[in-house]
Symmetry: C2
Subunit: 387 residues, 2 copies
């Protein structure tokens, strides 16, 4: 009899998390060693509520469509698994005779994954536990980068250039673009990759550096005065010199959490009020992680590969690891996969290197060297007729 | 000696307005009858400030890149041409010995185009004036639809489905999506085209119908309670039962139009405050008109064709017309072009038919029959694993 495997998603989806799921399913099928393929419906919620989906017999046509399907096809959640939940998890693994468990997520999920592995060992449960990395924020430690990031970065880079073309074609307003990333500015930094493809100046603000709003406004005023339009890109999580989020709605949700507002709108309002310059704010928000048209092919390929590698590793008896991507960029981009101990990545946050931020609002060429291969190389070319 | 032609853009760009420019340039070159090809830098601003660009010798490689370049490669503006400006325009036409003038824009631009034609006749200037239709809003009269709309509609349709997949994969919040369209709901209606491709319910609000916010909130509460997430799509210009914009910045643009603020954020705030349900607002804004990856191939083809048709018409002596698209949808989609008198389209606004709006927040199948061919047929397929 073959092994039974179980896969779950944790946290926010990416454009390629379903490619990892495809990698898991196809590797399991190809191995000839897997009996049942289960998925937790809505991540931890499904694990704790005995709500598993049996994917064993899903058609290969549907499985191959996963690479073109954004969000999580099995569902995810933001529920953090607490100490009190672990016995319920163990019960679930026993009931379905799970041999291998794969948790596809970010920092929190790797922490959970680690704890599940330790608990299973204590309970003498023969469970192989492997973490599959996923986060558009790129804030996972050890791995060179994280599946999901390349696609979010490609979205940011190309959309910023396209928006800059608009901002410079009708330079009647400052355009402020907000991108996701509460604590890590990786995605927002990618918006600057195409700065030189247009005539439009760009200013880029990441959460790693507190923003001096007076200087920000004087830089905006100066750049916009050039008459070529201006694109200001901000991470949703930027804070002022007092450490206060630029967008604070004052609204508290039903759980007592502060609801952050539109950071781009807040910056835009400042520009209109303090500089008397027309401004508009754009916030694609979740669209930055759901877009298939702007997803990165290499990111999709790697997402598939880490899913497959996780299954192959568990089936040869590995447990307690996350799949990590090791990358070479010279002479040309290549990657290979390896296993890293879960304890080394759990709850560690990799923020954007401050030395790659120049003068508070420009991104260094070192980041371009790092990031361009992950979005698939060069950006599209555009026709520039105006000098 | 050949003719000298001049092209100008008016109002907001679209994803395909540069394809119309490409059509103008390539038709002029192919005709063998054109000497100089001029473009007004920043639309009316360039015409009034004697700021023309000479595109006669732009390389054919650059011209062919126009179809992949969003925004306006020659620049546009929102300046309305006033009565007092017409003598300056006539001077510009005389100075550069312009034989044919093409104004590529929406309602306001067609009005200007009409007035220029009348003024030129009065002044015995031998000027052929042809309007090239352009507006993502699709609110131009007579023509079946307008270049720019198909791409904005394709953006809205696919992004809404992708976002709905995310909203149903992590159904912890209502997701509110704002799309452009101050008075006409055509683009927002397109967001509902893919409703049946996901499990996620959608509610769609257009500016053609005043919104009963109490009913809106109770509908949202009911749909979200189903546990499959919820996508609420709103036109930026929706108003409440008192006719007050849901988001009012108090700002007025150059045409005297009020500039609405973040409508999605306003709706999202209402959901959180009144229903105590977590909600988030997304507003791609200008990205909905700049995205090349989501542009419609047929829209791009038609945009090119109307530019070419304008040049061919002017070169055989036609003047005082806008190029109009006549479409057949059965047995399959086809279009042909014709000329319509400018006076019939100037300042007429074609709003979305109210009979295509069902119960205030659903879009009828008749709209799908109208719109699907314009975005290039069916939407992408996705893998749906959860029931």
């Amino acid at each position: 009899m073959g092994a039974n495997i179980l896969v779950a998603h944790g946290g926010g989806p990416t454009a390629v998390i379903n490619s990892s799921l495809q990698g898991v399913i196809e590797a399991a099928r190809a191995s000839g060693k897997v009996d049942k393929i289960y998925a937790a419906r809505f991540g931890a919620e499904g694990l704790l509520k005995d709500d598993l989906m049996d994917l064993t017999d899903v058609s290969s046509a549907t499985v191959s469509l996963l690479s073109q399907t954004p969000a999580s096809a099995i569902g995810s959640c933001r529920r953090k698994i607490e100490q009190v939940d672990y016995p319920t998890l163990m019960e679930c693994f026993r009931k379905y005779k799970i041999d291998c468990f794969f948790y596809n997520g970010g920092n929190d999920s790797m922490d959970t994954c680690n704890k599940i592995n330790i608990m299973a060992q204590k309970e003498k449960l023969d469970l192989k536990v492997i973490g599959i990395p996923k986060t558009m924020d790129n804030d996972l430690a050890v791995t060179d980068h994280c599946p999901g990031f390349g696609s979010a970065a490609r979205y940011a880079a190309i959309n910023a250039v396209e928006l800059a073309l608009d901002a410079s074609a009708l330079p009647i307003h400052v355009v402020v673009l907000e991108l996701m990333g509460r604590n890590a500015g990786w995605v927002t930094a990618a918006s600057a990759l195409g700065e030189k493809l247009t005539n439009c100046p760009m200013l880029t603000y990441l959460p790693e550096i507190l923003v001096d709003t007076d200087k920000m406004l004087s830089d905006i005023e100066k750049e916009f005065a050039g008459g070529k339009g201006l694109l200001v890109t901000v991470s949703e999580g930027i804070k002022d010199l007092d450490g206060k989020p630029l967008a604070d709605t004052g609204i508290v949700d039903g759980f007592g959490h502060k609801v952050p507002g539109g950071t781009a709108q807040a910056v835009s309002d400042l520009i209109m009020k303090k500089l008397n310059i027309k401004s508009r704010a754009e916030k694609p928000g979740l669209l930055g992680r759901t877009s298939i048209a702007y997803a990165s092919d290499i990111d999709r390929e790697e997402a598939y590969a880490v899913g497959k590698y996780a299954v192959d590793s568990a089936l040869v008896g590995k447990s307690g690891y996350m799949v990590s991507i090791d990358a070479e960029r010279k002479p040309k981009y290549s990657y290979k996969l390896s296993l890293v101990e879960l304890s080394k990545v759990a709850n560690v946050e990799k923020i954007f290197p401050k030395e790659w931020i120049i003068g508070g609002n420009k991104i260094s060429g070192e980041f371009a060297d790092y990031c361009l291969p992950l979005i698939g190389g060069n950006l599209p070319e555009f026709a520039i007729l105006r000098k």
